[in-house]
Symmetry: C2
Subunit: 309 residues, 2 copies
């Protein structure tokens, strides 16, 4: 078995934020958030992480120490004059629906990701949801990545379709939710939409379905995994990003892309995400051990097994 | 391996109808439908079926012959003076949503299910969605069934809660959709809602989630299975009833209730339902072979496997 110390490294580029969150279960104010933050913490259970992001001068020193304590390389973390990106969201009783109450881009508005020299040889790369041309810029700074994943959102599908297509022609995996897959393909059926997205370039497409799990499509294979049924869902924020983090961490730990390592990685991604939503922000992941992840991975096998008998 | 000839028999009680269906893919008029019809045809791939239902004098003779040709025992099929139950439904672009355009109960309004003597020893019994006190009446006519399942709907949860609770205390399995589970339990979280429903009596609860698959809950176990991803969904009518039919047929074929036979049966139910929705009404099942079912069962294993490597 490989371990975090010997695994290939994962490079992630994306937002870092301070979030205020309201859910039917309670609320949290100015907690550590942002796509690349969630991703990094999740991936750090499996592999060394190289983080690229920007924060403002108000970013709490203890959160920087926390990220460092996870084994996340912060050489690519820039502190700019101004405030950290802030997001205030409110979830409905049905937590699949949320409203953005307030959004302050602050220093994130001028984010121009530059990879430190030491990151350029990263083999596993995840481009979290930012402007597609910025994602492409990052790609151009890498030497010869083994496997590149990208996230995006409805906003870029609508406002930057050409930049997004240019990006998708250069990545190995795209990870988006079901409505975004249909929007991107202009097609209502998920299977047909997935095929169209794969024609844009990626060899793998992950369709995130929230509480219903995820689908992995490649040109000749489909893998379906349910979400882990949970008695308590406190805060869905970061579920998708920690899913991607667990996925890429597990792939980097395995060191190669095969049908087997991909499927295992998707289950590990689902496992990490299932812990994320149990508490506000990153609280559950702060207290989580690799042993707990492995235990829930085994519970996931038991949940879905009709293969071994 | 057991075969249909040697399997235990399945008894089903419920509606028989002539449906008119409109979906984004087309329409069909006066086609064979009804919960017990769909259930019977699905179950007949695995085990002998004893059908209890009522039709009017307009029921097509060739459909009676079709059911007979499936090996479905029609001794419990009554022909009453009047018209057969008719349902006219229209599906939205999002086929999870449908409107009832017209509903004529006709002879079904006076349905008082009476089991022929030859049915009373049935071991596997499914009470499709009818008035809960009628479902209980049927139960009282059975000698000593091994395993009894019941379906119900939002209408009975609201209008006949006491009769429904009395029924649930006497059945082994209840099979309903996710919003009905939450409604029945008065609880928004599926896992907590499932636990409350199990406290009402059944040892197993199946939560049907349409295109997202199904969950099986017992007091100490959960099983999750996705739906088979389909490129073409023509008509969702009967998916839930053929899921239940495949499930009970497979259980009767196995002849016993274990963790293994239940999980396999749920996958077979999902397999049959995945064929049902490929064409209007029962058209796909009319042309289906057991070999095709087994082939898709293997495809289901490949779709979900991360257990055997």
């Amino acid at each position: 078995m490989s371990s975090r110390e010997t695994a290939a490294s994962v490079c992630v580029v994306g937002s870092m934020a301070l979030d205020s969150i309201e859910t039917p279960e309670g609320s949290a104010t100015d907690v550590l958030g942002g796509a690349s933050t969630y991703f990094s913490v999740a991936a750090s259970f499996f592999a060394p992480v190289n983080l690229v992001g920007v924060v403002g001068s108000d970013f709490p020193e203890h959160e920087r120490r926390f990220l460092d304590s996870c084994g996340i390389n912060l050489d690519g973390l820039t502190e700019a004059e101004g405030g950290t990106f802030r997001w205030h969201g409110r979830y409905h009783e049905n937590m699949n629906i949320r409203d953005t109450v307030d959004l302050q881009l602050n220093v994130f508005e001028q984010f121009q990701p530059t990879l430190p020299e030491s990151y350029r040889a990263s083999e596993f790369v995840f481009l979290a949801n930012i402007q597609p041309s910025l994602q492409s810029d990052v790609l151009s700074q890498l030497e010869s990545p083994l496997y590149v994943g990208a996230d995006t959102m409805d906003h870029w599908i609508t406002t930057a379709p050409e930049e997004l297509r240019a990006l998708l022609s250069r990545v190995d995996l795209v990870s988006i939710n079901d409505s975004e897959v249909c929007q991107l393909a202009g097609e209502g059926n998920i299977v047909r939409a997935a095929r169209k997205v794969l024609e844009l370039g990626p060899s793998h497409l992950i369709v995130k379905r929230g509480e219903y799990g995820a689908l992995l499509f490649s040109s000749n294979d489909v893998f379906a995994v349910p979400a882990f049924p949970l008695e308590v869902v406190t805060d869905p924020t970061g579920a998708g990003d920690t899913f991607a983090g667990g996925l890429f961490g597990s792939l980097a730990e395995a060191g190669e892309i095969t049908r087997e390592t991909l499927r295992r990685a998707i289950v590990y991604g689902s496992v990490v995400a299932s812990f994320t939503v149990e508490a506000f922000g990153l609280d559950r992941l702060r207290a989580l051990s690799r042993a707990e992840l492995d235990e829930r991975y085994r519970a996931f096998m038991a949940l879905t097994d009709f293969h071994t008998y």
